[in-house]
Symmetry: C2
């Protein structure tokens, strides 16, 4: 890795260095199972190993790769470990990593169609494929008045949907003049925290997001939603948005979209459906029931970066009427004007998202779908659901533990019968062992352990061993 | 690339396929100069070459790579071509691409410190390095009450700053209760369109962003700012935010930060400084004058993904008081609670940005800074500034052309003396030739050509040849 002029790699140097980095990642893949899943460092420990000032002269790639091993890896919590069962899966895969590498190599900006037509058209195309692959409503296809776009996260998708909803409800008044009435939004008490964050950012106010009560399966109660809307209407407020959840983060609760959709229709509310984690399950026809009623939604999102082997960031947002979204987010300064935009014949995705710039993220989705094929992706989902069902059976068969929520897909919520303190001790013992990583939530005010099974390389043996560790730890910590 | 179970690549298969993709990129680097810079396809042309349905069975990597050449490349506008002079540079580099590759390979989520401590600590560390490298005010270091964070784009940085400003001005009232007064923001008529977009999204209203008149160098007039604030105060509004620009997109106009800062202090307005493109110039002590007065800013951002050889996305946002930002964006659901967060001893970057999830983007910055060293990065900036100054000299020496704005750094705004129609024809002739790519803006209601010199591989010969083409095209199109 020698320097020319200011030190650029030549293509030949890039080839050599690139092979070395690919080999480093391949070795990481081979070894990841052996690392403590949850990083065991203390705050500030990584920084202590970094020089306080940047280097004046360039360094060799080998030096940097050595530091990756020595300095960085101890501070990594290994999301790609087959023993990672915490939060939600964020599974990467070989083809996704390589698709993303091509995107970095091309280094194009996809803000406008004209700034790289393939970046826009491949995205539109692959998102249309996904409508077919997941059996989503036709109205989400780009060939209708709707269409799909890649966002970084479901948080941003929610914010885009909320802003478009606010604009539709105000005849595009608040975008220009600011929020000047009380606009009220609705989501269940189990909805993702990004709903609350979005309400704050958009100037609607977090208190004006009404958190609706849930039933025994932690799904939104439509009657409670209806009542909340009525109260707000009586108070002279403007109900405008319902954020329904298909697969809550805590426990995979699935809100009843059909009944919620009817309420939204009646009151002309925007229905956004957040299926960030669970949505990928719809690749398999037998799980498409999770989306029953989705045809009434104004927008929908799911994250291939969670459970569809596409490395972060890749959230797919669909809207039924792209005009509402575009009219809310479009600004056209002179320096971005171009013939293609003015022809109206193209999509400019900058108007479908919060930022202006955008990477060529469709490449990694394209690589993933083509590498695995639809059948490979289905098998991937089925394996995880099957492992979770088996794990749930083990929990049910053990007197020490009980299931804490229904297990529709790949997340098992369970707890030790001895109460919060034991569950907390159990969690800490397991995670500090480094053998596996689990996280918790609270359901009905009680601490619950969450076993999210979705790692690309998680096999039956990992789940089985995790259960053995959990049982052992329970014996050691419940005495 | 054979399948095991659902079709995952083994580490060995990843190694082989990874080498093939690295080689593909190295070949692209070797050949990029020969492609038409601006893609010449028509709307829909790329999609016509893509199958209407996704493949049921997996495909070979070689097939996908062939399609990259045959289907995708014709639809690419080559931002990495040394003949790309449009919009703004978005220069990638070997080390950046490889740092990003490591990030994809590790596949970690950096939303919390605990979810990968190294992801957070390396980011904090590298952003502190950059304070030193650019000679930024000490208050932006994490060791003070401020600190830095990587955002996707300056658009998102602006929105974060605007929301934090709105909250500070309302005692954190609007975040909870919604916007219920008229909040007024200020930026020059030359400010980036993302300011207007942010005002709309945040519920402040685009009309409540006052666009302040500029002087002959297209920089904000402080007296006009002061007058606008007074008018709004008299009307009972709440002035809260000034977005100043260091290096406008149109013409590298540099707002007078010192005088603007004094006005902000007097009226307790949040001063955000957007140096997306120009900021990297401050790597060189001789260009640090662009930041004169920055010590009065509440927030600041610049984009290493524009002019510091770090591939998109990588915007560095700094705040002087991190508490305002965090208090505006923090939400802590049960399922994200953890001991490190509760100890208060760590940074959780999810509270410094719009989305929850985040990639390990500090790696690419770390690779870039270490590969080039500070001296290599300075040389890179100096070469481009020097080329732009030389180009400006050629324009001045040619009777057919005039400079349309000062040329403080690496962007030359110029126009043919024969008026808008000729400049428009000139632009179209040049861009449809595929030999180079330029874009335009309007200054004083006149069309202006923009020559932005910042490609990683742009050398003197490319700039020289571009000027020859421009002169030839002028002779052919001004008759």
């Amino acid at each position: 890795m020698q320097a020319n002029t200011c030190g650029h790699m030549t293509p030949e140097q890039f080839r050599q260095c690139g092979h070395a980095v690919v080999d480093w990642i391949a070795r990481y893949m081979e070894n990841v199972e052996g690392f403590p899943v949850l990083s065991q460092v203390t705050p500030g420990e990584i920084r202590q190993h970094l020089p306080s000032s940047p280097p004046e002269q360039g360094e060799q790639l080998q030096t940097i790769l050595s530091d990756l091993d020595d300095v960085i890896l101890p501070g990594i919590t290994h999301w790609q470990s087959p023993n990672f069962f915490a939060y939600f899966p964020a599974n990467a895969s070989g083809p996704a990593i390589l698709g993303d590498l091509v995107s970095s190599g091309l280094g194009v900006q996809g803000m406008l169609w004209a700034t790289s037509p393939a970046c826009t058209e491949l995205e539109t195309h692959v998102l249309d494929w996904l409508v077919e692959m997941l059996g989503l409503p036709e109205k989400f296809k780009s060939t209708t008045r709707g269409g799909g776009v890649i966002q970084d996260t479901a948080s941003s998708a929610t914010l885009c949907a909320l802003v478009a909803a606010r604009e539709r409800a105000s005849d595009f008044h608040t975008n220009t003049r600011g929020v000047d009435r009380v606009f009220t939004a609705y989501a269940s008490t189990q909805a993702h925290s990004s709903m609350e964050k979005a309400a704050g950012i958009a100037g609607v106010g977090r208190d004006n997001l009404r958190l609706i009560d849930v039933d025994d399966a932690y799904a939104m109660r439509p009657t409670a939603l209806e009542a909340a809307i009525s109260r707000d209407l009586e108070a002279g407020h403007i109900p405008f948005f319902v954020g329904a959840t298909v697969g809550s983060t805590s426990s995979t609760a699935i809100d009843p979209l059909s009944r919620i959709g009817q309420i939204c229709r009646r009151h002309k509310l925007w229905l956004h459906v957040d299926a960030a984690h669970a949505g990928s399950a719809a690749l398999c026809p037998e799980y498409r029931w999770i989306h029953a009623g989705l045809e009434q939604a104004d927008s929908y999102c799911f994250n291939p970066h969670k459970w569809m082997l596409t490395n972060f960031d890749c959230d797919c947002l669909y809207v039924a009427e792209r005009a509402s979204l575009i009219n809310s987010l479009s600004v056209l300064p002179e320096y971005l004007r171009n013939k293609a935009t003015e022809s109206g014949a193209v999509i400019d995705y900058r108007d479908w998202q919060l930022p202006l710039g955008r990477r060529f993220r469709a490449l990694k989705l394209w690589f993933v779908i083509r590498h695995y094929g639809v059948s490979g992706l289905r098998q991937h989902i089925r394996e995880h659901v099957s492992l979770a069902q088996e794990f749930a059976g083990w929990v049910e068969a053990d007197d020490q533990f009980v299931l804490a929520a229904p297990v529709p897909l790949n997340l098992v919520c369970f707890r030790h019968v001895a109460g919060d303190e034991v569950n907390q001790r159990l969690l800490e013992a397991l995670n500090s062992s480094g053998r596996l990583f689990l996280t918790h939530t609270k359901l009905d005010q009680r601490i619950v352990l969450r076993m999210a099974i979705g790692g690309a390389y998680t096999e039956r043996r990992h789940v089985q061993r995790a259960w053995e560790y959990i049982q052992q730890a329970a014996r050691a910590n419940s005495a």
